[in-house]
Symmetry: C2
Subunit: 149 residues, 2 copies
DNA sequence: GATAAACCTAGCGGATTAGCAGGATTTTTC
DNA sequence: GAAAAATCCTGCTAATCCGCTAGGTTTATC
């Protein structure tokens, strides 16, 4: 029940784009350096984030990446679901049709429980936007205890 | 961000023990059959659950397993943490000491965010007991729509 | 045209997952 | 006491995923 580095790196990278957003596009290289992520690995993640429409890219020299939407409209849930697949503790097959065969005697009760858990976790992740994280970070560095907790 | 079968099977098996608890110990074999889990695989899971003190075992013929505590006192969080390891989206290293080196520029703000998420997810899982699931299941089968949603 | 960047495809070592095999041990039952 | 029923234990394996690297192609800027 833990994120792989995909989700973690992805969120950090998106946060980095949000922090450094301005006129110019931001090179993958600089994100990778600041966030201490393998450049080549980050390429793959950005490819997926782009395909999912969360970021835009600019090719060629002086090119780079940009958030596709303002940070207020991008949640951690958006990012994590793209990079890690659907956030669900177990398959909530019930959604699809309804009358599927329950192989295990407990699956009926459990199914609704798993769905409940899934919804609650998604709701947590969907209620944290990049903007919030940026604000949190600005607050911290403003108060002078960046790099410490 | 999904459970492996370990956690899922584990919860189902524990639920099964809760459902069928009585005087006699419950054989692994019957749990495996009812919940449609490989017997040999379930052995491993039960070994861990036993080591963690969530179940007791009775050896020999007519032996089997029993919950170590009443279903009201066993949460899904208990089970999942035993079988899947700590539930945390990312390492919350901040807990340990404090002044560790932040390798990435965003880790400070993110660290507290990850911890917040971790705590909320754990709280979800710790607020669902086996007793609740059993009650849910009884309600369902009582109302005659077992095997359907 | 040189350079800087995104883009693309492929592979690879290691870890984890899900499960199987085969026995050893303990207890009950006949 | 023998057989059976169960837990316990150790090790193996095929498949998959993870994190990362490699090496090139395309597109834009200077």
């Amino acid at each position: 029940m833990r994120l792989s580095t995909k989700g973690r790196y992805g969120v950090h990278a998106m946060f980095d784009l949000a922090m450094h957003s301005g006129d110019a596009a931001i090179a993958l290289k600089s994100v990778a350096q600041r966030e201490n992520i393998s450049e080549k690995y980050l390429e793959h993640l950005f490819a997926n984030l782009k395909k999912a429409g969360l970021i835009h890219s600019v090719r060629g020299a002086q090119g780079g990446y940009r958030l596709a939407r303002p940070p207020e409209e991008i949640t951690l849930g958006d990012i994590i679901r793209v990079l890690e697949g659907p956030v669900a503790p177990a398959e909530c097959k019930a959604e699809a049709g309804g009358n599927e065969d329950c192989h295990s005697s407990s699956s009926c009760a459990m199914r609704s429980i798993w769905c409940r858990i899934r919804d609650e976790i998604n709701s947590i992740l969907d209620n944290i936007t990049l903007a919030e994280v940026v604000e949190e970070q600005r607050k911290r560095s403003g108060q002078g205890y960046m790099f410490h907790i």
